[in-house]
């Protein structure tokens, strides 16, 4: 079996790829910069003796060239999983200061993810136990004055995955979506946070452990489920004071 990972060389994607490689799975690693994906493919080959292919695809662009991806997928054994870990945020993501970066953030976190899944989906339908995994964020729990576009994109992605799960029901394709809390990647680096930060290694392990399980929407770390429930239930008079 093989898996295609969008956003493989960094953050959570890196450790998902490592866990899959340790399990002996073949991988197609998609990254904006081919240098990163090539380095990762070499590393996984030398450490775990698995086949991994590097593909360059910039999810921030408004047009996609899938030729290289298709070629890599044609060479791969039956593709059985699509894992989209790509994500990005930017510093001035707040009301009144949204610029050109907002469009890129929307593309990377939502639109490109959907289009990449749509593109690869026909290839996995005939696989033995196909699975599609997406990564959301607890930022999408309730809109606040910071991470405006990022949160909106992740909430749109959540909605897309709900639709995807509904559409795939009966086709044997499992759909899993993770809403991640603070993870020790560059997305959270330098941010002052009130709750514990989880390691990307632990997220990678969790995602790979769950690959054989049923469809579902998960929070990781799990206490974020409670936090998000409370945040959503918080009366406006209290919520408006949460600026951090």
């Amino acid at each position: 079996m093989s898996y295609v990972i969008f956003g493989a060389p960094s953050g959570v994607g890196r450790y998902v790829a490592e866990c899959l490689a340790a399990a002996g799975e073949e991988l197609v690693l998609v990254s904006r910069d081919k240098r990163d994906a090539t380095a990762q493919a070499a590393d996984l080959f030398y450490r775990y003796d698995i086949r991994a292919k590097a593909v360059a695809l910039d999810l921030a662009e408004d047009t996609y060239d899938f030729v290289e991806l298709d070629s890599a997928l044609d060479d791969s054994q039956n593709v059985s999983g699509i894992i989209v870990t790509a994500g990005a945020s930017f510093e001035n993501d707040s009301i009144g200061s949204l610029g050109a970066a907002a469009e890129a953030i929307m593309r990377i976190n939502f639109l490109s993810a959907c289009l990449c899944i749509e593109h690869v989906l026909p290839r996995i339908l005939s696989a033995k136990a196909p699975v599609i995994v997406g990564i959301g964020s607890i930022a999408a729990c309730r809109g606040r004055s910071r991470n405006v576009v990022y949160a909106a994109a992740k909430r749109a992605l959540l909605s897309y995955f709900e639709s995807l799960r509904h559409a795939m029901e009966g086709l044997g394709v499992r759909v899993q979506f993770y809403q991640l809390g603070y993870i020790d990647t560059n997305l959270a680096f330098g941010q002052r946070v009130l709750l514990p930060i989880a390691s990307p290694q632990s997220v990678g392990r969790k995602i790979v452990e769950n690959l054989k399980r049923r469809s579902g929407f998960f929070f990781y770390p799990r206490f974020w489920y409670i936090v998000c429930l409370l945040l959503r239930a918080l009366p406006w008079v209290a919520f408006r004071r949460l600026k951090q």
């Binding site: 060389p9 960094s10 953050g11 890196r14 910069d33 240098r35 990163d36 380095a39 990762q40 070499a42 590393d43 030398y46 450490r47 510093e91 990647t185 560059n186 997305l187 680096f189 330098g190 941010q191």
Partner: protein, 447 residues
């Protein structure tokens, strides 16, 4: 300049040197993609940081952007025919050794802690357990890839861009960011190591032992000095490869010691009595049945991995370490003067060690042949006077200080004692005229 001025997420972090002497807060980034290295840092100088185990503030500096390279830790290529492995600079040397051991290969030169990165080994041109036999780390580096904003990504080796290679190996990151390195491996001679020790009564006796040894591992340990008339009482260790039917497996690695975790204890527990007791215990632990024992290859490479308590007991105040390369012919005179200095200032010395050394650094690290004497001591007012006297001794005897071990030695002493200092400074200013790469060490040494 504030954190929001950088293109990559940046935070303010407090860094501490492993010996606990240098502590400061500055900008900190953690690049994980090649394009992150290419992002401009504006007018602010920068420096690459590896495992953060530098004794001397080589990986940070006041107002310097620290770029932590630990996420660049991948194996990029491996040539089994020539036994060459190309790895990113943030790879931990212990991980690379473990990977090599599984293929019956071995890295002859590794530093004492497995969490030190390949980039750190290159930057400090570290030595192993018998530097006279194996030389220093640079001898096992075939090529490097360096990133400098003015030069881009550039390959350097002794044959191509040799001056850049020379200035980078032992250059403490001042020529640019080491991105990856091609390392030469050797076939593992055997699966285990037979470690033996003999009692030595003096530093002279210890020096004789290491000079007469051709073992792959050869060094001495001399216990703390309680009675100045017995300076040098200790053990000489040597090891031979041992072919065992089942290779000895290293004990489960403990949680890696960091510069921060080393100093958690709020006070120092080393004093004359505890040093004497620990020295006696160590001596007893290496006598009788344990005078000769079989250990794993990893244990022989990283003796401090299982003995973290030694450094932790210095506490937050930290410790001092000097490592000096002394010409063999002058060793007797040096030791005589050292004895006088110890008797006069009575510093609390926790241990001393001797190795025979050979190195060919053309940068800021040791070069030439001789005996390498390391001295660990408790920081105190008496130690301050001891350090000043040692600086004079260095200049009087032609000894070379290892700047990667001594976080207080001045630029003036280093300029007068390290043969490569002047040419290194000239090279750095030619390679990096705007001095984009800076650190606390560079500033202290007037580079």
């Amino acid at each position: 300049m504030d954190q929001q001025s950088f293109a990559l997420p940046t935070r303010l972090s407090t860094f501490v040197s492993f010996d606990g002497r240098v502590i400061l807060t500055t900008f900190h980034q953690r690049p994980d993609r090649y394009r992150h290295l290419e992002l401009a840092s504006g007018s602010i100088p920068r420096i690459a940081r590896g495992g953060g185990l530098s004794y001397v503030g080589a990986g940070f500096g006041a107002g310097v952007l620290v770029q932590e390279m630990t996420l660049f830790s991948r194996i990029l290529a491996y040539d089994p025919t020539d036994r060459l492995v190309r790895v990113e600079a943030g790879a931990r040397i212990g991980d690379i050794l473990s990977w090599a051991l599984r293929r019956n290969l071995y890295l002859p030169v590794v530093p004492g802690y497995p969490a030190i990165t390949v980039g750190g080994c290159i930057a400090a041109d570290v030595h192993g357990k018998n530097p006279r036999l194996d030389g220093t780390f640079r001898e096992w580096v075939q090529a490097i890839t360096l990133y400098h904003p003015n030069l881009g990504f550039i390959q350097a080796s002794p044959e191509i861009h040799g001056d850049l290679f020379d200035a980078t190996c032992g250059g403490f990151g001042l020529t640019g960011i080491v991105v990856d390195a091609t390392l030469k491996l050797v076939t593992l001679p055997a699966g285990s190591v037979r470690l033996s020790s003999i009692r030595v009564k003096s530093l002279h006796h210890g020096a004789e032992c290491v000079l007469n040894s051709a073992a792959p591992l050869s060094y001495t340990w001399h216990g703390g000095v309680l009675n100045p008339s017995r300076i040098g009482d200790g053990l000489a260790f040597s090891a031979e490869w041992e072919a065992t039917t089942t290779p000895k497996v290293a004990p489960r690695a403990r949680r890696q010691l960091t510069s921060e975790s080393r100093g958690r204890l709020p006070f120092c527990l080393w004093n004359r009595l505890t040093v004497a007791a620990a020295s006696s215990a160590f001596r007893a632990g290496n006598s009788g049945n344990r005078r000769s024992r079989t250990i794993s290859v990893r244990e022989s490479c990283f003796p401090f991995e299982q003995q973290q308590m030694y450094h932790r007991l210095f506490g937050r105040e930290g410790f001092g370490e000097m490592q000096l390369l002394i010409p063999t012919a002058d060793f007797g005179r040096f030791v005589e003067r050292l004895g006088d200095i110890i008797r006069h200032h009575r510093p609390t010395i926790t241990f001393m060690s001797i190795k025979a050394f050979r190195g060919g650094s053309k940068a800021l690290t040791l070069s030439g042949e001789g005996l390498l004497l390391a001295i660990d001591y408790v920081r105190s007012p008496a130690a301050d006077d001891f350090e000043s006297s040692m600086d004079r001794l260095i200049l009087d005897t032609g000894a070379q200080p290892n700047v990667s071990k001594d976080s207080r030695i001045s630029g003036s002493v280093v300029r007068q004692s390290l043969p490569g200092y002047a040419s290194f400074v000239e090279n750095v200013h030619r390679i990096d005229p705007k001095r984009i790469f800076q650190s606390e060490l560079a500033r202290r040494l007037n580079i």
